[in-house]
């Protein structure tokens, strides 16, 4: 693998990581969704680049899934859910943004310290990619922990998953990457369906309960 291939892969991976920080930084829900869409399209670019470099055509499918499903369909769907359910437009945080960013930097350091010495013998591209991917995974976790709202939690989960896909496409010749990304997409689709449903219910719940109470009162 030449220097240029290596550098481009490295660059794309790093940009995915930078956008993970972007997700932590955003204070508006729509901003979070836009950042996530950008991250997913960069992931698609990274996967497509790996497909080209490793000459592994199946990775193009992973890239296409990331682009169509995660960069377009899901952000649009979440956008509409937020509008339709009148969810609070600003992000509710548990910790302050500044503190979260500092913890995030700590996590990235941790994953580099963890991965680089361990993977000394594997190829350079895998090593860096893996360190970047683990950082994205940990930042996704951090986002899930420090955000209260269900929509931002789902976005955190999906960015965590972006990190996993980044790791999987970076490892040379890994089989089942496509199947795994499909499996994850199905899961995310159901989760989003769940969010939608959850909020719909929350709004109708009072009506339902009211009905049940009158019904019980009548019976006894």
């Amino acid at each position: 693998m030449g220097h240029l291939e290596f550098d481009i892969a490295h660059l794309l991976g790093t940009m995915v990581l930078v956008l993970s920080f972007g997700l932590l930084f955003q204070r508006r829900i729509f901003g979070v969704l836009r950042t996530f869409a950008l991250q997913a399209s960069l992931l698609a670019a990274a996967a497509a680049w790996q497909a080209y470099v490793q000459d592994a055509p199946h990775l193009y499918i992973t890239a296409a899934i990331a682009l169509v499903f995660k960069a377009i369909v899901i952000p649009v769907a979440l956008h509409r859910i937020v509008i339709r359910l009148q969810i609070h437009r600003s992000v509710e945080t548990v910790l302050g943004v500044g503190l979260t960013m500092i913890i995030g930097v700590g996590l990235v350091t941790l994953s580099i310290l963890l991965v680089l010495p361990v993977t000394y013998e594997s190829g350079a591209i895998t090593r860096e990619n893996l360190a970047l991917a683990l950082s994205v995974v940990l930042l996704g976790l951090l986002m899930m922990i420090t955000r209260r709202n269900a929509v931002t939690q789902v976005v955190g989960f999906m960015s965590l998953e972006n990190g996993l896909i980044l790791a999987a496409v970076g490892v040379r010749g890994m089989p089942f990457v496509v199947e795994m990304s499909v499996a994850f997409s199905v899961m995310v689709a159901f989760i989003i369906f769940g969010v939608f449903f959850f909020h719909i219910r929350e709004r109708f719940d009072t009506l339902d309960l009211h009905y049940l109470e009158t019904f019980r009162g009548e019976r006894e």
């Binding site: 963890l114 991965v115 010495p117 361990v118 993977t119 000394y120 013998e121 594997s122 895998t126 893996l130 991917a133 683990l134 995974v137 976790l141 899930m144 269900a150 939690q153 989960f157 965590l160 998953e161 996993l164 790791a167 999987a168 490892v171 040379r172 010749g173 890994m174 089989p175 089942f176 199947e179 795994m180 499996a183 994850f184 199905v186 899961m187 159901f190 989760i191 769940g194 449903f197 959850f198 219910r201 929350e202 719940d205």
Partner: protein, 480 residues
């Protein structure tokens, strides 16, 4: 015809066809569900005789054949229980017919994904199967559409989603370790082939991979501190699902951990997974037993008891060695059978009493003698009273610990006693005590599945056939 293909294809075919049966024919759907589970069980039993050749994607060995049969058996008895349980829920209007189509389809889809996870030779397929099982059960946990159920399903999704994600990261690392030695592609993910070569892998990557795998699949086992999803998911879902969650899914997740433990054991430079598993097992056991005292919901209480027992099993496998592994395998089987029997009877109890609250369930042996006494026996079995099967396996765990690490026996025995006390305390109130005015509805369901399980557990406590002992021993050696 290849029996393994039948084992895997029957649930798929059943899931698809059950998805097409309209909800108003739910009685037929329930019967079809039982039939499909029976066919799966029958073909699973033939795997003892005819063992298909392993390939890159599937294999059968001594270890998983026993879990396949156990899974198929509990799946079959649960489908019997589910038929009567669901019928009653429809009658009282807690479930409407259209949802049953979904329920029955998902039940078989869940059976399929568990059997797939057990028979997969490929680590990637195993991961996809565990993920599929998570998805299927999370959807079923939210079946009642109450606020609590949706919240439980949400928690389950998020926590197990993270667990599953960590497990995938571990799987990727495992491939990364395998790739330099075995070359790329599917063979580098096949468990049997990895096992042959694992001694040459880079131990540092293996260690890192195992930590992620243990945390990831450990979340699904319900090990502390990743257990928070488990009580909610058990309490809010339909009871047949609680039975298969406790009895089967936790085993499948632990099975995945054990497969990786075997791999690590064959690499001289890798960390010993034992201490990690012992630590997590013991902390789950102690945490769960103390939590047992403060439960107000009967299903939640037995969910904590599942955490307790998974802790004991993980502890036993963490100890390792022929005797402790033997005890762990036996305990896995006994816990599956007993816990699902308990959930069957709890399902009937909640239906006749119209409540899951422990405060509403009193004097069962007086108001419903058959059900009540069956429940008493089941709870005594899970509490570990001799001569029932759980006592036998717990006794073995304790003796092997005494022989190898006497210090660890102290927290272990303490946990067992605390758990025993909590269960007996609760049992007194529910089974005896004063009979409340409400909740005298006669029980219509058959208790046959419960009795079948309890009979097996009681027999195992007194006598285990020598063939079975020899075979458990063989598997225990395999586990290292």
């Amino acid at each position: 015809m290849n029996p393994l293909a039948v084992v895997l294809c029957t649930p798929v075919a059943a899931a698809v066809s059950l998805g097409f049966i309209p909800g108003r024919y739910h009685r037929i759907a329930a019967r079809l569900n039982v039939l499909a589970s029976f066919v799966t069980l029958a073909s699973g039993l033939t795997l003892f005789e005819v063992r298909p050749e392993p390939n890159l994607y599937f294999f059968i060995d001594d270890f998983n054949v026993y879990l396949v049969v156990l899974t198929a058996f509990v799946g079959f008895t649960t489908s019997l229980f589910s038929a009567s349980y669901i019928g009653h829920e429809v009658e009282i209007g807690r479930l409407d017919a259209p949802r049953l189509r979904f329920y029955h389809g998902m039940y078989q889809a869940f059976m399929f994904s568990m059997l797939l996870a057990l028979t997969a030779n490929n680590l990637g397929i195993m991961w996809v199967a565990v993920e599929g099982a998570t998805l299927a059960t999370a959807l079923m946990v939210s079946l009642y559409r109450t606020r609590e159920a949706i919240e439980a399903a949400w928690k389950y999704f998020i926590l197990c989603g993270v667990g599953i994600a960590l497990a995938l990261f571990g799987t990727i690392l495992m491939y990364l370790a395998a790739q330099p030695v075995m070359g790329g592609g599917a063979p580098a993910m096949a468990w049997l082939l990895i096992l042959a070569q694992v001694a040459h892998f880079d131990p540092a990557i293996l260690n890192l991979a195992f930590v992620f795998l243990l945390a990831g699949y450990g979340t699904k086992v319900g090990l502390a501190p990743f257990h928070a999803w488990l009580p909610d998911a058990h309490a809010e879902g339909p009871t047949p699902i609680s039975a298969v969650l406790s009895g089967l899914l936790l085993n499948v997740a632990l099975y995945a951990v054990l497969r990786f433990k075997i791999l690590l054991a064959h690499n001289a430079g890798a960390i010993a997974p034992g201490p990690l598993m012992i630590g997590m097992g013991l902390s789950s056991l102690l945490l769960a037993t103390f939590m047992l005292y403060r439960r107000r919901d009967i299903k939640r209480m037995f969910a904590y008891s599942s955490i307790e027992h998974m802790g004991i099993i993980t502890f036993a496998f963490g100890m390792g060695g022929p005797l402790a592994n033997f005890a762990g395998l036996l305990h896995m089987t006994m816990h599956s059978l007993t816990k699902s029997a308990i959930f069957f009877s709890v399902g009937h109890i909640a239906q006749v009493k119209g409540s899951q609250k422990l405060a509403d369930i009193r004097g069962l042996t007086i108001s419903h003698p058959t059900l009540g006494w069956t429940f008493v026996v089941a709870v005594l079995a899970i509490a570990g009273l001799p001569p029932l099967g759980i006592f036998m396996s717990e006794f073995l765990v304790v003796t092997s610990t005494m022989a190898r690490q006497p210090v660890l026996a102290i927290p272990l025995v303490l946990g067992l006693l605390v758990g025993f006390g909590a269960l007996i305390l609760r049992l007194q109130g529910t089974a005896f005590g004063e009979v409340p005015a409400r909740g005298h509805a006669p029980i219509k369901a058959s208790l046959l599945p419960v009795w079948a399980h309890l009979a097996l557990v009681a027999t195992a406590g007194l006598y285990i056939p020598p063939q079975l002992v020899a075979w458990f021993r063989a598997v225990a050696t395999l586990l290292g």
